[in-house]
Amino acid sequence: MRLRDFPEEELFLQGSAACQGCPGSAALRVAFKALGRETILCVIASCTSVLQSPFPVSALNLPTLNMAFATGGATASGLSAAADRLVASGAFKEKPTILVWAGDGGTYDIGIQALSGAAERNTDFIYVCYNNEAYSNTGTQRSGATPYAAWTTNTTKGKDEWRKDIAQIMVAHGVPYVATASLAYPTDMYRKFAKAKEIKGTRYIEIQAPCPPGWKFPSSHTIKVARLAVQSGMWMLYEHEGGKTAYTAGTQRIIQGQSKLLPVEEYLQAQGRFRHLFSPEKDEMRIAEIQGRISHIFDTLQFTHKMKEHIMDIELAPPR
């Protein structure tokens, strides 16, 4: 699927209340195009609750239930069970896609219990986490998704902890489909949504969502920052199905040696939230720590890839 082949119908309407350059709204646009009209949407408290525009208007042209912060997975279980009943009673010809749209706060932190419960029950729905790596809606506080050393309003010297990896936690739940996506690779993202739509059970898609006001970069740079994240290895693109992980798009190209892994410094420097790593003095140690982690992961992946080509035929779910 090429960009120009995306369906023209816009289910994310004009006139939303999003900031300029908002990654969340761009992601909604692509996701809606891939999923189509037969979709029931549940929005979990996040920037999307606000950017859809206040009552009585809406930028979301799908039946939408706005729900409380900690409820994504559970609400989906209710929606999905009810949809099954309506299919059984003939009210629906086919089961619509149940789509939960949550931010990283609602996924990594307060919402993980409900998400985990739904995954364990293998509730039939797609869960999307648009991960802007902070509580952007409340003014950029740290979340479980905030990367190490990043500034937020409550980690003013940079976060001390490394982020947790929810996508891998979802892989560990054994759900049928887990994927990561990036705004800079919309065709890859579109393909993942279109694929998820055809699968039954719990599907998890996480989109890295560089947020201009929260990450402090010009609003015209959203896609550029998203691309740098993948090229520097700070964000990896893959999908996990049937016990196997396949790397995709930009990440795949790096592993296969078709493109170079950019130094993470380039990515860090593109954003204000890492400014304290470069001024007044360069914080060589923390930058090296970040680079070290990324290099270790990619060295392992590249090595595995070469080995696989040459001697082995096993798939490993590599460390990230």
Partner: protein, 406 residues
């Protein structure tokens, strides 16, 4: 069909007869038997229903909101800590105007750990916009669950309903009930049709950001919905009597109030004790009656005014306490009849955490009140303060000595 069973199993029968299509619930003592029985009904093919075994009460209510928003009849059951845990979503369900029914087995809140009867749990949830109905018998539990759907789904109401009954006294005791025929229930309770739902052809957004320009109006509409519910509750009880045959009262149930000049006011199973207390008091020459509050939200203001204004004294019995004030029912009864008649209103706070409340204690204290031996304020007649309530001999005393408190 006649059945001898627990209050919990009887509640499950109510859900089954109401043709509930989605149940989501988490186990909590003393509610567990409700969902066990429902899951057995489903497994044995006696009930055609989706059962979502969620991972918490917060999720139970979220799943209910999801299924009710799709226009499917939904049911849950909880108790005490479970209700407290779902508190946020109680507001959500009512605020988004979703019909649904949940039973709550009234149980004490910890600490200390206590699974016995107490009304603190539901009274703490009284301002969430839910209708709250309190039952005094097994039969009433079954009948009220069915009536609750009628009330909840009425287009003038469209609010969730909580059916409350007492832990252990009702939940775990066995009583005989008459299970009505399904076709009678079907005649009473038509299939669910909501005023709104998530519809693919008319994609609307529900529950989004709302500014001060509109928020008050939304709250007012909930207020009106609860107000409208008064008539709907009465009508549901009467139509249920006409079609099915049982009647437990509408907003209130009265017992020997016609010629009374003294009334007891209570909720839940304690009202049965109160009936015996009424008999005892009458034997002693006091003209007493009972007003059992069946609907706590909406509160039966008009009924209480009418019934209590001729009274000389009113004795309100609370199975909970509004800390820093008095018994919550006591406050509300006083407020309801303020300026109507000149009854002196007394209050017993008793039976907390499942403590046994005997009819003779109620009768004795009411007689005291009538003889001017009890002040018209809250008293705790079953309190037994001991040494060990004040100081734990071995533990605290030693610690206090060490800290220099003693």
């Amino acid at each position: 069909m006649r059945l001898v069973d627990t209050g919990n199993h009887v509640a499950a029968w109510g859900a089954r007869l109401a043709r509930v299509e989605v149940v989501s619930a988490y186990p909590i003592t003393p509610q567990t038997q409700v969902i066990e029985e429902i899951s057995r009904f489903i497994d044995e093919g006696e009930m055609d229903c989706e059962y979502i075994p969620v991972e918490s009460e917060h999720s139970a209510m979220a799943a209910m909101i999801g299924s009710a928003a799709m226009g499917v009849r939904s049911f849950s059951a909880t108790s005490a800590h479970g209700l407290a845990y779902m508190h946020e979503l109680l507001h959500w369900a009512a605020g988004i105007r979703l019909p649904m029914v949940m039973v709550n087995v009234n149980r004490a809140l910890g600490p200390g750990w206590n699974i016995w009867c107490d009304h603190q749990d539901t009274l703490a949830a009284r301002d969430t916009g839910w209708i709250q109905l309190y039952c005094a018998s097994h039969q009433e539990v079954l009948d009220t669950v069915i009536q609750a759907f009628r009330i909840s789904e009425d287009l003038k109401v469209i609010l969730p309903v909580m059916v409350c009954y007492d832990a252990i006294f009702i939940s775990h005791s066995y009583m005989q009930v008459e299970v009505p025929d399904q076709d009678k229930v079907d005649r009473f309770l038509p299939p669910f049709r909501s005023l709104w739902k998530l519809d693919l052809d008319y994609p609307l957004t529900h529950g989004s950001v709302i500014y001060p320009d509109d928020y008050e109006e939304v709250r007012f509409s909930m207020f009106k919905g609860l107000d409208n519910a008064r008539k709907v509750i009465e009508r549901a009880a009467e139509e249920y009597r006409d079609i099915v045959g049982d009647f437990h009262g509408g907003m209130v149930e009265t017992y020997r109030t016609e010629d009374a000049d003294c009334a007891l006011v209570a909720m839940g199973s304690m009202a049965s004790e109160c009936k015996m207390a009424v008999e005892e008091l009458r034997d002693k020459g006091y003209r007493c009656g009972l007003v059992r509050v069946r609907s706590y939200r909406p509160f039966p203001i008009a009924e209480l005014r009418e019934l209590l204004s001729p009274m000389r004294s009113v004795m309100v019995i609370d199975r909970s306490v509004s800390f820093g004030l008095e018994g919550a029912l006591f406050s509300e009864v006083k407020a309801a009849i303020y300026g109507h008649g000149d009854a002196t209103v007394y209050n017993l706070i008793t039976g907390l955490g499942g403590r046994d409340v005997r009819y003779d204690l109620i009768a004795e204290k009411t007689a005291d009140a009538l003889e001017g031996k009890l002040a018209p304020e809250s008293s705790w007649p079953s309190l037994r303060l001991n040494e060990h309530h004040l100081v734990s001999k071995r533990g605290l005393e030693g610690y206090w000595k060490k800290e220099g408190v003693l």
